[in-house]
């Protein structure tokens, strides 16, 4: 049997705490934290995960575009294709 609580810290962190063991004691949130229900936690976590995924995709897309640009520039400068691919990592290997 585990004891779980969910809360938001004053610094904005979304927190899940789970106590377990031979005789689990319900955790105490830190000073300034606000307890929330699990449903609210799950919803907020989904939003964070979605934002993380968006960030990852944005970074990957921007950097992929940059690598592609570098790759094309190397080819235009007469660098062999294999060398340009090795230097830029573009296109990314599956």
């Amino acid at each position: 049997m585990a004891e779980q609580i969910y809360y938001r810290q004053a610094d904005g962190a979304l927190v899940a705490r789970t106590a377990s063991g031979t005789d689990p004691i319900k955790p105490e949130p830190p000073h300034g934290a606000v307890l929330i229900e699990k449903a609210e936690y799950d919803k907020a976590l989904q939003r964070i995960e979605r934002d993380r995924e968006t960030h990852r995709n944005t970074v990957r897309a921007e950097e992929s575009a940059q690598l592609h640009e570098d790759y094309e520039a190397l080819l235009a400068a007469g660098v062999a294709e294999a060398t340009a691919r090795r230097l830029t990592g573009f296109p990314a290997r599956a």
Binding site: A13, L14, A16, A19, G21, P24, I48
Partner: protein, 305 residues
């Protein structure tokens, strides 16, 4: 009665009386209960009742004499519990029960006697002997098998409030775990080394009200970093920087993470608690390094032996 003299020192008064006249005095006296009186002779004597059964008579010397009639007296007595009485002889003795198991007997001097060790008992687990003088009761014990001195190292046994033998408190072991997951938007890793970014607390309980507990505490920290090209970030516990990641490549490393663990020990007083606080630190943030998650475990292994 006559008075002579003039009352002077040379001729003082002299008062004298003649012998009494018994014939005048004797009529003044009479006999009451238990007495006879002869007013003619003035002799007073005891009077013995003539009622039937009276054992008072006059002895050979003329005095009152009563002879005890044992046969009659003995009929006045009877035996109660623990007494043996012979009304024919008048002998009174203690009476020992004939119930089986009675240890009261008569000693060589005729007195009541319980021989030492006569109260034997039957024993069961943990006891030897029957309680007799030749085989006294003893506690059945094992043989001390350890190389250390028994007196200095053995535990003890005690009697509880109901008279039951008890040993020293039983050993206890307990386990407490607390998992903490902090989710952030991307937060910049601080530049200063060993900067506290959060804490993780665990209130560890000693379940034994009698003895201190020995506790092993394990703290485990895992942080997720996003490291753009030419960036770096460090993760640590308290003042110990435990890992550092640097990205010298051309693209971002997303969600790189490392798990670090430390183990410490502590003692908690009997019936007490210890609030253990883990300080999670970061530092040497550069090149736009960020973190978005810190996961930590605190595990307490509590032993009371």
């Amino acid at each position: 009665m006559t008075v002579s003299g003039s009352g002077t020192p040379a001729n003082p008064y002299v008062i004298s009386a003649d012998s009494p006249d018994c014939s005048v005095i004797r009529p003044c006296i009479s006999a009451g209960n238990g007495a006879t009186y002869n007013s003619g002779t003035g002799i007073v004597a005891a009077r013995v009742s003539t009622d039937p059964g009276n054992i008072v008579t006059f002895g050979g010397d003329g005095g009152l004499y009563a002879e005890t009639d044992c046969t009659t007296v003995r009929q006045c007595l009877s035996e109660g519990d623990g007494i043996d009485y012979n009304p024919a002889t008048g002998v009174i003795s203690a009476r020992a029960s004939t119930d089986p198991g009675n240890n009261v007997t008569f000693g060589g001097d005729g007195g009541l006697f319980v021989p030492t060790g006569a109260a034997t008992v039957s024993v069961d687990c943990g006891l030897d002997g029957d309680g007799s003088a030749g085989d006294p009761l003893v506690v059945r014990t094992g043989t001390w098998p350890f190389p250390c001195p028994l007196d200095a190292n053995a535990g003890q046994t005690y009697c509880d409030s109901t008279g039951v033998l008890r040993s020293e408190p039983r050993g206890m072991a307990a386990f407490q775990q607390d998992q903490q997951i902090l989710n952030f938007a991307n937060v910049a890793v601080p530049a200063a080394q060993d900067t506290p970014v959060t804490t993780h607390d665990l209130n560890i309980i000693n379940p034994d009200p009698c003895r201190p507990a020995f506790v092993m505490i394990e703290g485990e920290v895992d942080a997720d970093f996003n490291l753009p090209a030419n960036s770096g970030a460090a993760l640590g516990i308290s003042t110990d920087e435990m890992s550092y990641h640097a990205n010298n490549g051309a693209t971002t490393i997303l969600d790189i993470h490392t798990q670090g663990t430390k183990v410490v020990n502590a003692t908690i007083p009997a019936g007490g608690a210890l609030l253990f606080s883990l300080s999670i630190t970061m530092g040497r943030g550069s090149g736009g390094a960020t973190y978005n998650r810190i996961q930590s475990f605190l595990r307490a292994f509590v032993f009371v032996l």
